[in-house]
């Protein structure tokens, strides 16, 4: 246990002390922030205004602010949980590149403990960054339009935890096969650029072509984004109901921001989204353990 504690402490410290790794992991959320600050926010505000007013509903700026803010925050947290997990887990690969892994494996510590040390440290580092980001996001929502309850916040934190567990497990498996700085750069670039799209953070999945929508409905991360959207926008939709917005209008808005996800035309309920995410986490962690057990036999 002491050995595991020492490894977790070392790995966590290394992530926060390595400024390159730390700031690289924040690139995708920062890109998203820039996109929203420069034009996406205005595009969404205008489209919500236009859609609601064409349906005959008059809507306050605060409600629109809460809706657009909720979408921004859910997108930001959804990418943050996965891309930060990937970047902080690159430590596993860097240790192979620098030879630190050889040094660590010279100590009387099992491969399983070494692997768990990386996973737990990655989980802690990513959670710290994402919870920090969540705090900033909630502060932002309090300025633009606050419609959240304590339960919404608790469920959002649960979503963050699940997405971080998912991101850490997925990155552990992918990084397990990497062994050079070039591979780190390649995977880092692909994840940073691509994950925001496939999880529906840069653009709602409802805007994708039908084929692409079907393809991303197989990816568990998509449901993580939707869970965050559902919890961060629940209060906004409740307020719309209370203000007497027609049910079809609210449902159309829910569809447009991916609160409603469809798997081959059948709507995926929130409970099912949790099941998909939890099962995928369990499967990925089991796969990571299997990989480590299989290579536990010495190199042949």
């Amino acid at each position: 246990m002491r050995e595991l504690g020492a490894l977790v402490k070392r790995n966590t410290k290394l992530y926060f002390k390595d400024k390159g790794m730390f700031f690289t992991s924040l690139i995708t959320p920062l890109i998203l922030l820039v996109l929203y600050a420069t034009f996406l926010r205005k595009v969404y505000e205008d489209s919500f205004h236009a859609a609601l007013e064409s349906a005959g509903a008059s809507v306050s700026d605060e409600l629109i602010g809460g809706c657009v803010g909720g979408e921004l925050v859910s997108s930001l947290l959804a990418v943050c949980c996965v891309t930060v997990a990937f970047c902080s887990n690159f430590l596993m690969v860097q240790d192979k590149v620098t030879g630190a892994k050889n040094d660590l494996s010279m100590a009387p510590v099992g491969r399983g403990t070494l692997a768990l040390g990386y996973y737990v440290a990655n989980l802690l580092s990513t959670l710290l960054v994402c919870l920090g980001a969540a705090a900033v996001c909630l502060l932002y929502l309090s300025k633009t339009g606050w419609y959240l309850t304590g339960t919404d916040i608790a469920l959002t934190l649960l979503d963050i935890l699940l997405l971080v567990l998912f991101g850490s497990a997925l990155s552990s498996i992918i990084n397990f096969f990497l062994s050079s700085q070039g591979q780190i750069s390649a995977v880092g670039t692909i994840i940073s650029a691509g994950y925001g799209f496939i999880c529906g953070a840069y653009m709602p999945i409802s805007n994708f072509s039908e084929g692409l929508q079907k393809a991303v409905s197989f990816l568990p991360g998509t449901y993580g984004t939707s869970l965050l959207r559902n919890h961060l926008l629940r209060g906004v939709f409740e307020e719309m109901d209370e203000q007497g917005f027609p049910e079809q209008v609210v449902e159309a808005v829910r569809d447009s921001v991916d609160c409603n996800l469809y798997f081959f035309d059948s709507k995926v309920e929130i409970g099912s989204m949790y099941i998909v995410l939890i099962v995928s986490i369990v499967v990925l962690i089991a796969a990571y353990i299997m990989l480590n057990l299989m290579t536990g036999k010495k190199r042949r």
């Binding site: 020492a6 490894l7 070392r10 002390k17 050889n102 040094d103 100590a107 510590v109 010495k298």
Partner: protein, 304 residues
């Protein structure tokens, strides 16, 4: 002295490449053992098998009487390794590095402080404790690498080209510290190096070529078996040297005559007393031994 490392008929292949072929040798407790070979000779493969990092194909390996395949953890507790390149975490301080590595051996708190004090006496690193490893000079970093390798008081210290790229002063400091540890703690040192003068100080030398032992013995035996002696003769002209009928090379203000052994040198001197007034006899160098045994020159890791 007991054998602390025993390797018997060790073989290892990577596909078609036979990295180690029927290798057998012994290392006695407390001795400085030099393991020489050009890159690809099989040194690293052997060390990795000894450390339990790599599976062997055939043969047996015993470290402190234990089998690394069966008693991997116990074997690792008895081994300290200084890698060719520093493998400590550059963004962490020396203290953080040593604390995290010591904890992997269950060493912490007062026990760790006591050990650090012991090692500081030998390697003088207390001033460096708060500095990030990445900010240290090459020599300072090497000292910390050795502290890390010794943090758990291993019986065997494996040094994989430990002084490559270091200035002579730092090399001397490191060797002085290693000599003191050998003397005080009866530590066995297993050395791979490209500096032949370091191998010349070893108690026993094994020269590896293409995975096999090309030569082995004490430096003296190897010099006697693989090289001749040299007589450096001063204050004579070349005509007289030529008349001796021995191979020679002119050097600045002298001639260097090659003779098969010390007996032949003595005979030559006794037969030509008028010529040998100012001279010195030296044995061949380890570089000559390496060249004679393998047909290759070992120069800073490059094969020639």
């Amino acid at each position: 002295m007991e054998n602390i490392i025993e390797i018997n008929h060790l073989s290892k292949a990577f596909g078609e490449v036979k990295a180690v072929r029927d290798l057998s040798f012994r290392v006695k407790e407390g001795e400085l053992f030099a393991f020489l070979g050009v890159n690809g000779a099989g040194k690293s493969t052997t060390i990795n098998i000894m450390c339990g990092q790599l599976a062997k194909d055939e043969g047996s390996v015993y470290i402190c009487g234990m089998n690394p395949d069966r008693d991997a953890d116990e074997v690792k507790r008895n081994l300290g390794v200084v890698f060719q390149n520093s493998v400590l975490d550059k963004s962490l301080t020396v203290r953080d590095n040593l604390i995290s590595r010591a904890a992997l051996y269950g060493i912490a708190g007062n026990e760790l402080e006591k050990r650090l004090t012991e090692l500081d006496r030998l390697l003088d690193f207390r001033d460096l404790m708060k500095r990030p490893v990445g900010k240290l000079s090459g020599g300072q970093r090497r000292r910390i690498d050795i502290v890390r390798a010794l943090i758990h008081s291993p019986k065997i210290l494996i040094l994989d080209e430990p002084t490559t790229g270091l200035d002579p002063q730092t090399r001397k400091l490191l060797w002085d510290a290693i000599s003191m540890m050998r003397k005080e703690q009866h530590m066995t040192v297993f050395l791979t190096t490209h500096y032949m003068e370091e191998a010349a100080d070893a108690d026993f030398v094994v020269i590896l070529d293409s995975g096999k032992i090309a030569a082995e013995g004490t430096p003296l035996t190897l010099k006697n078996n693989y090289t001749g002696d040299f007589i450096t003769l001063y204050g004579v002209n070349e005509e007289k040297i030529k008349a001796l009928g021995c191979p020679y090379v002119p050097i600045r203000d002298a001639y260097r005559i090659s003779v098969p052994d010390t007996g032949a040198a003595t005979k030559l001197i006794v037969e030509n007393p008028e010529l040998f007034r100012d001279y010195e006899i030296t044995k061949g160098k380890m570089d000559d031994v390496f060249l004679a045994a393998t047909g290759k020159k070992l120069t800073g890791g490059m094969e020639r």
